[in-house]
């Protein structure tokens, strides 16, 4: 029987197999941030256990650091400074690779890792952060863990884990420039549920994926966890190899040929078995925006919010009812034209250069609607610099967006900055949970293009409408 790409990478990392279906899996890379990495390193240190392979461990500051220009260790979030200082001192003590504030490598972990060549095809990679699955875009077997599992990996470079099932998601059809990876993944989650994958490894494939750029693939895999997956993964191709060449932590010149030879073999067998195969016809995917408080509460902007009668399952119906109340929306109404208070472009989902370019193409020579607070937070210091080199910052600023330093920023409210009470925010982030972005904040997840278009209109809007306005 053939094996999936995921199974092949897994099998290559089995140190020991146990009778109870569990494997002891070797972990190649560990990435940390100040929010959850600080406690993992601290807790290990308290037990007098050292990091086994410091060179395989990386850390950055992204979660609770401010993104306001001129920032330092002081944070608007009370006690945020303690997390930053703790990670810094642990990183120095353990001699791990550390991207401190105000270094060119700093940024959101899942943005930094690909751009520095830390996540590579065929590697196993963990981070105490749920969006670690983003890195499957490079053919890395990457998944999020808790702090305790992270401690085990830091101490032993292994984890005991049962191999999950594999699901294949084929995305085929015509690609058009109106449909982004974000729209596709929201379509997937809205159709199959926020736990549709139920802990499986999801492999994305199909002609649409083949044609996608690396950054769009990162967006797609990023939201695998919102689909209930352990991870998302895409077969690495020439685009990935090209993307990685010359990156700081990628294989050096004398190793690259050998590495690429190995990477080219990383593909699922034709007769590989999946527990489920999902086929998505990209022609059916429109502009997707969430209306509720779970990523599965998403609709095509041409459609209406479902009525409660359309939902059979009682618990789901009850969740939808609560979500509508929270969001200040009515069943059966449209999202189009809904007035917004704020627009946010950022997060590990959609803050890379290509995201900023798309948003800028819509914002160029336009102004954000009166009364809309608009913020752009580039995903990394490198993204920020690259964007500034192209003049994107000027487009954002002259449109009326704030142009920030990199970090996770207002993707979530940690006690520092947040959106106002009950404000309606269109956001390129990944979670529309209750109170996630601020007290009673009403989050609508969407692509960067949709966020930019809505910021200009002052209401939830189609990106294509803005393009027609040009």
């Amino acid at each position: 029987m053939g094996r999936t790409l995921f199974e092949k990478i897994w099998d290559k990392h089995v140190v020991e197999s146990f009778d109870d279906d569990n494997d002891l899996i070797y972990i190649d890379r560990i990435f940390l941030h100040e929010r959850t990495g600080s406690i993992a390193l601290q807790s290990l240190h308290d037990r007098n256990i050292a990091v086994r392979n410091p060179k395989q461990v990386f850390a950055t500051i992204d979660h609770i650091v401010d993104t306001i220009p001129g920032r330092d260790d002081e944070t608007l979030m009370p006690s945020g400074k303690e997390f930053i200082k703790s990670l810094r001192s642990s990183a120095i003590r353990e001699n791990i690779n550390f991207f401190d504030l105000n270094t060119p490598e700093q940024g959101i972990g899942h943005v930094v890792s690909p751009e520095q060549g830390i996540a590579l095809p065929g590697l196993t990679y963990i981070c105490p952060d749920s969006h670690t699955c983003s890195l499957g875009a490079l053919g890395t077997l990457a998944w999020g863990v808790g702090s305790s599992e992270c401690e085990i990996a830091l101490a032993t470079n292994t984890l005991i884990k049962k191999k999950p099932k594999s699901i294949k998601v084929n995305v085929n059809g015509n690609v058009n420039d109106q449909v982004s990876a974000k729209d596709i993944v929201l379509y997937l989650i809205s159709n199959y549920g926020a736990n549709g994958a139920d802990g499986s490894a999801v492999e994305f494939g199909g002609n649409v994926i083949d044609q996608m750029g690396i950054e769009a693939r990162l967006t797609l895999c990023n939201m695998s966890v919102e689909f209930g997956a352990m991870t998302g993964i895409i077969q690495p191709d020439e685009k990935v190899f090209e993307y990685l060449r010359g990156k700081k932590y990628a294989p050096t010149l004398d190793q690259i040929q050998e590495a690429e030879k190995y990477w080219r073999k990383l593909k699922s067998d034709k007769d590989a078995e999946y527990s489920e195969i999902i086929d998505i016809d990209c022609d059916q995917v429109g502009t997707f925006v969430t209306w509720g408080t779970s990523p599965e509460h998403a609709i095509d902007l041409n459609e209406k919010i479902p009525t409660l009668n359309e939902i059979d399952d009682e618990t789901k119906k009850d969740s939808a009812k609560k979500a509508l109340e929270y969001m200040g929306l009515n069943e059966g109404e449209t999202l189009m034209g809904k007035k917004i208070d704020a627009a946010f472009i950022g997060s590990c989902t959609n803050s890379r250069l290509s995201d900023l370019r798309i948003a800028a193409s819509i914002l160029k020579d336009k102004k954000v609607s009166n009364g809309v607070k608009a913020i752009c937070v580039p995903g990394s210091s490198k993204v920020k610099k690259d964007a500034e080199n192209e003049g994107l910052d000027e487009i954002f600023i002259s449109a009326g967006f704030e142009w920030r330093e990199s970090g996770c920023s207002m993707c979530f409210y940690a006690g520092g900055e947040s959106f106002g009470l009950s404000e309606r925010v269109i956001s390129s982030t990944n979670r529309n949970f209750e109170n996630r972005q601020g007290k009673s904040t009403r989050t609508h997840l969407a692509s960067p293009a949709t966020v930019a278009a809505s910021a200009i209109k002052g209401t939830i809007a189609f990106p294509k409408d803005l393009k027609e306005d040009l």
Partner: protein
């Protein structure tokens, strides 16, 4: 981690789907680099009518009598989805929750539970609904008894059996530290690592 054989007590129904870890412990309630001091922030946005002044919302299940003394949560699908923050588990435990019975769990949250000795049991929704019905008839007396040796749940003279992965069950029963467990294989890890890096020197 303390070994667990059985858990019994008051069970609180929180039959919602997709209860995320942001709801279990909001990010702003994580104020220190510590696994302690989190119970106060558990379900903060639902539990308090004023989070700032810590005024309990009497409509929230865990504020109602007798559910303030709950040790078990009965919930829906995908409980603990979202952020990987292990603080969600630490907060639940510190508040007093020892077991959660749900239709399904977020996979990172589930792993975090097992590694901290919080029992997470997956059951079909109709069985959970049945348990909720039994509990609601008389919450103070209709306790749920979970036997991890037999893998059974007893409530109101009924006994239900559940499945749990043997490794998870033994971790909970033995209360073993997983680092020590893994380090039994240190020699195997060393030799694997040496070969692995020899074949793939770019690692």
């Amino acid at each position: 981690m303390k070994p667990i054989n059985a858990i019994s007590g008051i069970a609180a129904p929180l039959l919602r789907n997709n209860v995320d870890t942001d709801a279990i412990i909001p990010s702003r309630e994580i104020k220190k680099i510590s696994k302690l001091g989190l119970a106060d922030g558990l379900f903060a946005e639902w539990r308090y009518s004023s989070v700032q002044n810590r005024i309990p919302d009497q409509n929230f299940i865990l504020n109602k009598d007798p559910f303030q003394k709950s040790v078990i949560l009965l919930t829906g699908e995908n409980f603990g989805c979202g952020s990987s923050r292990e603080h969600a588990v630490w907060a639940l435990q510190e508040w007093g929750i020892k077991a959660i019975i749900g239709k399904s769990f977020g996979s990172i949250f589930y792993n975090n539970c097992i590694r901290n000795g919080l029992l997470a049991i997956t059951l079909e929704e109709k069985i959970i609904s049945g348990l909720i019905k039994n509990v609601e008839e008389n919450p103070s007396d209709n306790h749920i008894f979970i036997d991890l040796i037999k893998c059974s749940i007893q409530c109101c003279d009924k006994e239900i059996f559940f499945d749990i992965h043997e490794k998870d069950r033994s971790l909970l029963i033995e209360g073993l530290d997983e680092i020590e467990k893994v380090l039994i294989y240190k020699n195997n890890i060393d030799s694997f690592e040496a070969d692995h890096k020899k074949i793939r020197p770019w690692l």
